[in-house]
Amino acid sequence: MSDLTNLDTLTPEQESLVLDAIEGQLRPERRPEFERLLDGCPGLEQDIARLTESRNLIAALASVNEPEVDFAAPVLERVESLAVEPETPILHLQHMDPPARPRLQISSTRVRTLAAAAAVLIIAALSFSFLKSGPVKPKTNPGPDIAAAPDGIAPDALDPSGQAPAPELAQAERELRSVELAQTHWTQTRNAEPTLAEAAALLSSGRLVIRTLAPSRDIARAGVDALKTGLDAQSTAWEIVSPSARAIAARFDQPEDTAPIMAMDEQTGLRLEIPRARLIDVWTARVEPDASAIASLVHSLRELGFTVRLEALPEPVELDDPLENALWWDQSPATWQPIESAPIVIETLDR
């Protein structure tokens, strides 16, 4: 009896042919190819017969009369005990809440009051520092509120404690802070966020929108690339379908406003100009109308660096479903899951 070395020389195509023959599934049109293979390799037929015999033996295990089992009671007991002390779920509902950030007050009619208070603080700080360590050189580029500040000193050049001139808040640090403030501003100026269960109901009625904000264009671009290259492979409960039609995207595009947005950072006491959010793209997501599916999608978007906010639309939005969704039709209706569409609005901070 050979040691099956005939089988070691087969190409993957020939292996596939042999596998089909072993299982009795060789299609008639492939039979001539199979016979040519046998003719060209003496001894192969015997090897295939041995494979077939062992295959039939394994298949016979399916008919073995195995003992009756009844696992319902112990399994349900274990499941219910787990429900009392559940495993840590992948996503807690609480994770949907935005992280706590310092409260922010955006300039508006109250800005004058705030500016006056800031000016008093600045004067006090300057006087103190002048007495202690000599005059402070004015900055060459004082920022938008320079006219309102006495002595031409930018308010953000000072330590809010008034102890000394600010330990020179570096440009990078200031930019970082302004991005954080802009993200907070963006979140706080959105409509109230629905709970996950409410979001699932909104999704079912076509009224859910998933708004995202990237801190920079690079992160937004990387995020969009991730959507293009199959971010949805992470989940079976949702998928990212395609960019939405221009008409849909236009619906989320705000008219351009070039006036600067100033923000008071209560953490440092400084007023900073914060970048505006600009629309980059709108994509369509298909999601099971289920809290865990929505949470999973939100989590994945956050992993890409987006700030994510769920919102209710006043009216249902009609999203275009591309033809490939029809692939689901070839499966049994029993396997269908309700699945709904929602726009993912992608914005970035315009820096």
Binding site: L61, P67, F71, P74, V75, L82, S235, A334, T335
Partner: protein, 196 residues
């Protein structure tokens, strides 16, 4: 008017697995019980052929608990049974990997794998010598080869389902299946049946 209990008892006869799974995921205890009844035998059988008779019951229960607690992650893109096989196979293969890393090594006397051709007196399963021999040979194959043979030949999964259960591409399914078939023949021929 009091309604007789039989009149309100749920009947699940014509309800597909996938619908039952949805009901169970929403906390319907009766649906969960019905699901267990439908899948416990194939799950036990798969465990029996993957980990052997000594551990099959425990592993089958572990797999069923896993199925019920993960129902919300079943999306319906595949058949429910395919998903159940995937969960069960993962449970068994994880167990086997943990066991292989265990500092307690199985000696010849304590090795739970049956010797080829040796019946398993405590398995409660009646089978003739040739089947006992092939099950013994299966248990002596590498885990990945045993899994693919059992899923294909005993459970009857298609290549696409094997690809999904084992999380490998179709091409790898074919090559692994081919290698597993060769390895099994060699094992069986190294341990021919004893002559009467």
């Amino acid at each position: 008017m009091q309604v007789p209990s039989q009149a309100v008892a749920k009947t699940f006869d014509n309800i597909p697995d996938e619908t039952l799974a949805q009901q169970a995921a929403r906390g319907d205890r009766e649906a969960a019980t019905e699901i267990i009844k439908r899948i416990e035998r194939p799950v036990f059988s798969l465990c029996l052929n993957l980990v052997g008779p000594h551990e099959a019951r425990d592993l089958a229960q572990d797999a069923l608990v896993r199925v019920l607690t993960k129902l919300d992650s079943f999306s319906g893109r595949s058949k429910f049974r395919t998903w159940v096989y995937r969960v069960t196979t993962n449970e068994c293969l994880s167990h086997l990997r943990r066991r292989s890393r265990s500092p307690v090594q199985y000696g010849l006397e304590t090795d739970p794998r049956p010797q080829i051709g040796e019946p398993n007196p405590d398995s409660g399963i009646q089978m003739d010598e040739s089947l006992s021999r092939v099950r013994g040979a299966l248990m002596n194959l590498p885990d990945d080869q045993r899994a693919i043979l059992v899923l294909r030949d005993v459970r009857g999964l298609e290549y696409e389902q094997l690809s999904e259960v084992l999380e490998i591409p179709i091409g790898t399914v074919r090559s692994r299946l081919f290698r597993a078939r060769k390895a099994l023949v060699k094992l069986l021929e190294q341990h021919p049946p004893e002559a009467d």
